[in-house]
């Protein structure tokens, strides 16, 4: 027992020194840490409930995605049938129920049609399944049903793109240190510290930003527009700001250009000093735009964003420079928002906000102050109580619990863990429970001394017998913490992290470290009786 080798003492001291050192950068502002030469060391992240900011959980609209998927397939099938030699004449195309079905007019060509459609499907998943299931019904009708694997793969690739697009849009907003991560199959978590009003953020990521330019169908009658029944090859789209008064307009189905051909978009002003969005096309897009505007000079075309017409100006002259302006009922802010959305590309799938938590920075700062105050008072109260109850051994426990607080912070910084408000509660609780190990040990030492053992034996037995109990109690405690960590959402996780780290480090400080102190004293003082 009294044999405590020097290397062991040194390793304990070094381990504690490293832990405490790691915690230091988190106590001072970043600039100060840099001045001390420890700016490169990891710091603890503050959760949004402490720093203030917004947490959003976005969910992909999978219904919308499936719809888009079918629409895309419809386009591909039409093109493929037209391209066939001789072209295969199809009709009665339906996309209801998430499936695509069409009628082949010439019964003899059904097999050829199926063959061609099959080439459009892709293998997906590990099982060799394809993303679409092709079947012939009633010998003339071809039905394409998306497979489970196909839909999953489509969601997966759409989410990867969507996460990138969201990241670009938020970066463009100039917010600092946003966190954007994909969660599960169809969700994205966005955390922006310091953001007061998430309305702009939500407006920015809520827009799909699918931009299309289509020619206005001048042949459509006012009745057709009102009733929503479009002539063949056209469609009726909502147009809230229509100067004609009817909130809808008929446009050709085929887009002359889409947002995919944009290379840049900026907020600027038109000649009347109204905010607009200036866009530049890629060279191919610019050529296409030049051709269409030359052919259609004097006719109106519609600028469509996410299925709604924003404006439908006349083409006064051919637009040759590959540049154009989107005008509409914009404010500077909304024009800027649209420019950002267009620059960052369109979202492959619509995203909905399913969870939102916003904490103002003042409340966050209040919570930090309250948390620090509560932790300090808790620590001081516990320290006094322990010293009064166990004398020298209580003071050893106090040194251990104080070091433990620093070490927990150090480990958290090292793991890049996030400190949340429940995490601070976890701290306070850890202060309370960490001394439990010392209470167990000291009570045991008391008991053994009462049974007539000398100080050395009492301390030795106290540590030995209590260690077993401490180990078992901590394992069960850790089980609860682990479950919280695995199943808990953000805030609860923050609590679990502190609890788990605290359990691990407190065994070290409360058992190993205090034992070293106790043994050192025993050697130096050689007491005949313990005042415990």
């Amino acid at each position: 027992m009294l044999d405590f080798p020097r290397w062991k003492v040194w390793s304990i001291v070094i381990a504690i020194a490293i832990g405490v050192l790691l915690s230091l950068p988190s106590f001072v502002p970043e600039a100060t840490a840099a001045r001390w030469g420890i700016g490169g060391l990891p710091r603890i992240n503050l959760g949004l409930d402490l720093s203030g900011g917004s947490h959003l959980m976005l969910e992909a609209d999978t219904v919308d995605l499936a719809k888009q998927n079918v629409a895309k397939m419809e386009e591909q099938v039409r093109t493929e049938m037209r391209r066939a030699d001789p072209p295969i004449d199809i009709g009665d195309i339906s996309t209801t129920g998430g499936r695509l079905s069409f009628f082949v007019r010439n019964g003899a060509l059904v097999d050829a049609a199926v063959e061609r459609v099959r080439t459009l499907t892709q293998p997906s998943g590990m099982t060799g399944q394809r993303d679409w299931d092709v079947q012939v019904v009633d010998s003339t009708r071809v039905v394409l049903t998306p497979t489970e694997e196909g839909l999953t793969a489509a969601t997966k690739s759409a989410m990867a793109v969507a996460t990138e697009v969201v990241r670009k849009r938020i970066d463009e907003m100039g917010t600092k240190e946003p966190t954007i991560i994909q969660q599960g199959d169809d969700r994205i978590i966005v955390q922006v510290p310091g953001l007061q009003d998430p309305a702009a953020l939500k407006a920015l990521i809520g827009k799909t930003a699918k931009l299309e330019f289509k020619l206005v169908d001048l042949a459509a009658t006012a009745d057709q527009v009102k009733s929503g029944r479009a002539p063949v090859g056209s469609e009726i789209l909502p147009y809230p700001d229509n100067p004609a008064g009817v909130p809808a307009i008929a446009v050709k189905r085929r887009a002359i250009l889409t947002g995919d051909e944009l290379i840049d978009a900026r907020q600027s002003y038109d000649q009347n000093n109204r905010p607009v969005v200036s866009i530049s096309f890629s060279s191919a897009g610019g050529l296409k735009f030049a051709r269409v505007t030359t052919e259609n000079t004097g006719k109106p075309f519609a600028m469509i964003l996410d299925g709604r017409v924003i404006s439908a100006p006349n083409i006064n002259e051919p637009i040759l420079g590959g540049q154009a302006q989107i005008s509409g009922n914009f404010t500077v802010a909304s024009a800027n928002e649209l420019a950002i959305s267009l620059r960052s590309g369109k979202l492959p799938v619509a995203l909905k906000v399913v969870e939102e938590r916003t904490v103002g920075p003042d409340l966050g700062a209040d919570s930090i102050h309250a948390g620090i105050l509560a932790s300090t008072i808790a620590a001081v109260a516990v320290v006094i109580f322990m010293a009064l109850s166990y004398g020298r051994f209580g003071i050893y426990a106090d040194i251990a619990v104080t070091l433990n607080i620093f070490i927990i912070l150090g480990v958290m910084a090292l793991l890049n863990a996030t400190l949340t408000l429940p995490g601070i509660a976890g701290f306070v609780l850890t202060i309370g429970t960490a001394v439990d190990a010392n209470v167990l040990i000291n009570e045991r030492i008391r008991e053994e001394q009462k049974r007539g053992r000398n100080p050395t034996q009492a301390i030795e037995l106290g540590y030995k017998e209590a260690s077993r109990t401490i180990f078992e109690a901590n394992v069960t405690h850790a089980i609860a913490g682990l479950i919280m960590f695995l199943l808990g959402s953000g805030q609860v996780k923050g609590f679990a992290v502190v609890l788990l780290i605290g359990i691990a480090t407190s065994v070290f400080t409360a058992v190993v470290f205090t034992r070293m102190l106790a043994v050192g004293w025993l050697r130096r003082a050689r007491p005949t009786v313990l005042n415990v």
């Binding site: 938590r357 103002g360 309250a370 209470v439 260690s467 109990t469 401490i470 808990g488 609890l499 005042n531």
Partner: protein, 322 residues
């Protein structure tokens, strides 16, 4: 210096003797807690029912009726108000707007804040949460799963390490602790949110910790005093560990009390739940779970073989061996 001793030396309280009374009181209290839960239900926060929560901080304590009239007039649904933390803060809960449009939630928040600002100048809105029905369903499921897993997982752990009686008595005592905590929330109608689930899990962890210490002493004494009567042995073990039980509960209560008083209003419910849990957990350790071992028929004779003792060799080597 004379040191503080909360439990005098050679304390010998007959815990086992009063076990029937304790069991009856415990059962009645548990039934009352379950009854309160059945009759009043829990005041579930937006985490679990979905909806919108806006925290409003007024410059002076507002009249809740006035705030309520103000919000009801907006036509954004039935609001539920609750004062929490300092008297100036009110949390306003509203159902989610029917429209799933992006702007709909914002519109409700803006409507509420604009209207309140007009009537109560200087009011600020430091926090708001929106949780959709789908997400809240998942949070409920995960929360329940976490509590069930924790209770079952730990009961299985103590069953494997000890005799089954220890597993069962721990399980019963912990179910009691959880039910009492839920009953407390049913009676006080304090908001039950995600943080409270974390509190319940912590209570489970702590309560087991407490029982583990006593169970461990019972096993130690069973090895030491093979001839001793089981009732006397359990009383001895509970009394021997009593100073530790009292000390630890007190230190944790000290820490929690400082959190309750100085830790800010956001975590007040969490801290209150935890304090209650510590009291209930300590009570069930001393009066319920150890006495229950006798009712379950724990026999000292079964300990002769000691097959599981080797498993502990590693545990003892936490510090260097003397």
């Amino acid at each position: 210096m004379r040191l503080l001793k909360l439990v005098p030396d050679n304390t010998n309280i007959g815990f086992v003797r009063v076990r029937v009374v304790a069991f009856v009181i415990t059962a009645l209290l548990t039934i009352a807690a379950v009854g309160a839960f059945g009759a009043r239900g829990l005041n579930l926060g937006v985490d679990f029912v979905g909806g919108l929560m806006v925290e409003a901080k007024f410059t002076a304590p507002p009249s809740l009726d006035k705030v309520r009239t103000n919000i009801d007039a907006l036509g954004v649904g039935q609001g539920s108000l609750q004062q929490f933390g300092d008297p100036n803060s009110v949390s306003i809960r509203l159902p989610l707007p029917a429209s799933t449009d992006e702007g709909a939630n914002n519109a409700v928040v803006n409507k509420v804040s604009a209207s309140l600002r007009k009537e109560f100048p200087g009011v600020t809105f430091p926090r708001y949460d929106t949780v959709s029905g789908k997400v809240s369903g998942e949070l409920i499921r995960n929360g329940l799963l976490a509590v069930v897993l924790a209770v079952v997982g730990i009961a299985i752990f103590s069953w494997f390490r000890y005799e089954w009686q220890f597993g069962v008595s721990t399980f019963v005592a912990i179910v009691h602790d959880v039910l009492m905590t839920i009953g407390f929330f049913a009676i006080t109608q304090m908001e039950f949110d995600l943080n409270i689930v974390a509190a319940v899990l912590t209570i489970i962890g702590y309560s087991i910790n407490d029982k583990m210490v006593i169970d461990d002493r019972i096993r130690e004494n069973m090895r030491k005093f093979r001839q001793m009567d089981m009732k006397a042995l359990i009383d001895l073990s509970v009394n021997e560990t009593l100073p530790r039980t009292v000390m630890t509960s007190l230190t944790i209560m000290l820490a929690l009390a400082s959190m309750l008083l100085f830790g800010g209003h956001v975590l007040r419910g969490f801290t209150a739940a935890m304090m209650l849990g510590i009291i209930v957990g300590t009570y069930s350790s001393v009066y319920v779970s150890s006495s229950l071992l006798i009712t379950l028929g724990l026999q000292p004779a079964k300990f002769d073989a000691e097959p599981k003792d080797n498993a502990r060799a590693g545990a003892e080597r936490v510090g260097p061996r003397g």
